[in-house]
Amino acid sequence: MIKGDRMRILLVDDEEELVSTLAERLFFRNIKADWVTSPDDALELAKNNRYDLALLDVKMPKINGFELKKKLTEQHPNMKFIFLTGHGLDKDYPIDISEAEVFNYLAKPCNIDNLIKTITNVLSSNKG
């Protein structure tokens, strides 16, 4: 995050109604969020833009959130990620975390204040 700059976030979820509304709400809170409804579009968008953080749905058609994260990281090594999941919040979510990466999860439906807090945390703690 470049100081003084408005932070830019990419929202990826196959539910258009969700991501569009979320982008609008974040805009009210001074966060510029672009949204797409498919991983392909996300990669396309990420080619030409720089995002501080991506909010990804775990379960999407074709490729899931974790795979998308890998591909985005290849393009933008400094990009941070938060995952949204409909599977409930659980620290021991039984999806293979073989690379021992610490992911940030948010359960659907989530409170907007929680989301802002998590975004701020991720961007500040994982600086550099």
Binding site: E17, L22, R25, F28, K59, G86, D90, D92, P94, P109
Partner: protein
């Protein structure tokens, strides 16, 4: 031997201790079939009839083990009995032969002596009293037993007589023996008791004279010599040796077959030129072995009678050892058979019980997993639209807050807030469902007991609310977290909580209490419900034990709870009083 078996077998069955050690499978069929009626897709049909297997096994083992043993023993018994018997028969036969030779010799000897005298001495010499007295004296000295001596002429008149009686001049011509000797040339009389009551026989021989006339030399012979010989025969089996004549009159004394000159009690054996041994039953029903031989040229039959029972007594005594051994073997076989069969069938029964329990546990687990997957699917699918509703309502709220456009309508703001809080509630429900769905995954992790109890309780919250049950949690804050299988723990708590709530009437009191002990946590579920009867208390953790089979209970809840507690290394106990309530305590290891 059959009665013995029967007695032992019935004895074993009748023993009161048998009722105490009666194996578990004995009443298996009756009890289980009733309880197994309502258990759902697994229509349990008892595969094995344990009582019948037990009976068949016992029966077969007894047949293959004991019957050959008894048969062999019986055959051996009969064979040896026969061998011993023929040995005795052979002994008797030999003894009779030998004795007959001696007896024959006695008669032949005395007859030959008379014969020699008759030929060696002239009639006139014999007719001389003095000469005859000398001859008698010499005969007595040489052969013994000669009691008197007399000469009888061809007309049957006693011409000369030396002896105790005065028989001179007696006429024998009308007597049968005189006729017999006239034709045959010699004669041996039956025994008679003469002077001084001494048994004698008369031996007479005929000597032809040149003038076609003849005389008879007649002597009475004392037979005590062969009486002595007969009585001195060493015999086993209460043996008795004696002589009878061909009319069955005893000629010598006997031990127990009558007095001399009496008629013998057993029938006269039929004629045979050889030594014979026959079996007979006497008037007392005793089995006799009778050896006999007709003594040639005499009216006498030598008999040796032995009592079979006495003879066999020794052998019977010798047989006691093997018979005792047989009896002990049979008893041991019976006990070992009973013990081993009972043990094995009981093991089969227990294995079958375990099999059924596992089957149902698998069924239960599958059911729970299916419910879990269904719940997770539903929750996940609901979460997505829920998230949209949440964001949309949030956006409306944002519009109020950030754009102030609609802020002057407090009613609208209230509606939006109501939507958001309802979404929150829905979110809570779907989260709970998702947590529940994760039960089928076995994972050991750090578990906070209070949280887990609260989560389990949340599923029964509404039920408790409807029944106005007051739920009290008494969980101190210093209760440590434990490492355990969270999913199993939650199922255990869920089962116990739902049981407790089901057992209570409206307005009950339900307390969940956690106490830290030395190396375990005691989680107590205390209800004041209907309680459990004392006689059922020992069975409630057994599979299929249910008092609610009529209401669709499977009787598996507590047995599965018990199994789960055991799987996570804990234990569960129960205390209950009818009408006052029950307390289930789960002990969880702290380490």
């Amino acid at each position: 031997m059959g009665w013995l078996l029967k007695k032992i077998f019935l004895g074993v069955l009748d023993m009161s201790i048998f009722h105490r050690i009666i194996p578990k499978f004995w009443h298996y069929q009756e009890n289980t079939t009733v309880n197994l009626k309502n258990i759902g897709p697994f229509e349990y049909k008892p595969m094995l009839n344990f009582k019948r297997i037990w009976k068949a096994a016992i029966f077969l083992i007894i047949i293959v083990a004991i019957i050959p043993l008894i048969s062999m023993s019986y055959i051996d018994y009969k064979a040896t009995q026969k061998a011993v018997e023929s040995e005795f028969i052979f002994q008797i036969s030999r003894l009779v032969s030998n004795t007959r030779r001696s007896v024959s010799f006695f008669f032949a000897e005395h007859k030959s002596a008379l014969d020699f005298t008759a030929h060696n001495t002239t009639f006139s010499e014999l007719n001389n009293y003095k000469q005859l007295a000398i001859i008698l004296d010499n005969l007595e000295k040489s052969f013994g037993g000669f009691a008197d001596l007399g000469i009888i002429d061809s007309h049957g008149n006693q011409k000369t007589y030396v002896g105790y009686h005065n028989l001179k001049g007696r006429d024998y011509s009308k007597q049968p023996w005189f006729n017999e000797i006239t034709s045959t040339g010699n004669y041996i009389s039956d025994v008679f008791k003469g002077f001084r009551d001494i048994p004698h026989i008369v031996v007479a021989i005929k000597r032809n004279l040149p003038n076609d006339s003849f005389f008879v030399l007649r002597a009475a012979i004392d037979i005590k010599r062969f009486n002595k010989m007969l009585s001195q025969l060493q015999m086993s089996g209460a043996g008795d040796a004696f002589i009878i004549n061909n009319k069955g009159i005893l000629q010598t004394p006997t031990k127990d077959h009558g007095k001399i000159l009496e008629k013998i009690s057993i029938p006269v054996p039929e004629y045979s030129s050889k030594t014979q041994v026959i079996k007979q039953i006497d008037s007392n029903g005793e089995h006799l072995l009778i050896g006999y031989a007709y003594i040639t040229e005499t009216p006498f039959i030598l008999m040796i009678v032995k009592r079979e029972e006495k003879l066999m007594k020794l052998w019977h005594n010798a047989r006691k050892g093997p018979i005792l051994f047989l009896a002990i073997s049979i008893i041991i076989i019976l006990f070992v058979t009973l013990g081993v069969t009972t043990y094995l069938v009981n093991q089969m029964y227990l294995a079958d019980l375990r099999r059924i329990r596992n089957l149902h546990y698998v069924e239960y687990s599958n059911k729970m997993a299916s419910i879990g997957r269904l719940a997770a699917g539903v929750a996940h699918e609901i979460n997505n639209p829920l998230a949209i509703i949440n964001e949309k309502a949030g956006l409306i709220n944002d519009l109020f807050t950030f754009q102030k456009k609609y802020a002057n309508d407090p009613k609208l703001a209230g509606i939006v807030n109501a939507i958001i809080s309802s979404v929150d509630r829905c979110g809570l429900i779907t989260k709970r469902l998702l947590n529940f769905a994760r039960n089928d995954i076995v994972r050991i992790k750090t578990v906070n007991i209070k949280e887990t109890i609260n989560e389990a309780l949340a599923f029964q919250e509404k039920e408790a609310e409807y029944k106005c049950i007051i739920v009290t949690l008494d969980i101190p804050d210093d209760i440590p977290s434990i490492k355990s299988d969270w999913g199993k723990l939650q199922q255990i708590f869920l089962n116990l909580i739902s049981n407790a709530i089901a057992s209570m009437e409206n307005g009950g009191n339900f307390v969940i209490k956690v106490i830290k002990q030395d190396n375990s946590l005691a989680v107590m579920f205390i209800d004041n419900g209907c309680g459990i009867p004392l006689e059922d208390l020992g069975h409630i953790f057994e599979p299929f034990f249910s008092t609610k089979t009529q209401q669709g209970g499977t009787g598996l809840g507590l047995s599965i709870t018990y199994g789960l507690v055991r799987e996570i290394g804990g234990s569960v106990t129960v205390e209950s009083q009818i009408g006052k309530g029950s307390t289930f305590t789960v002990f969880l290891p702290l380490v």
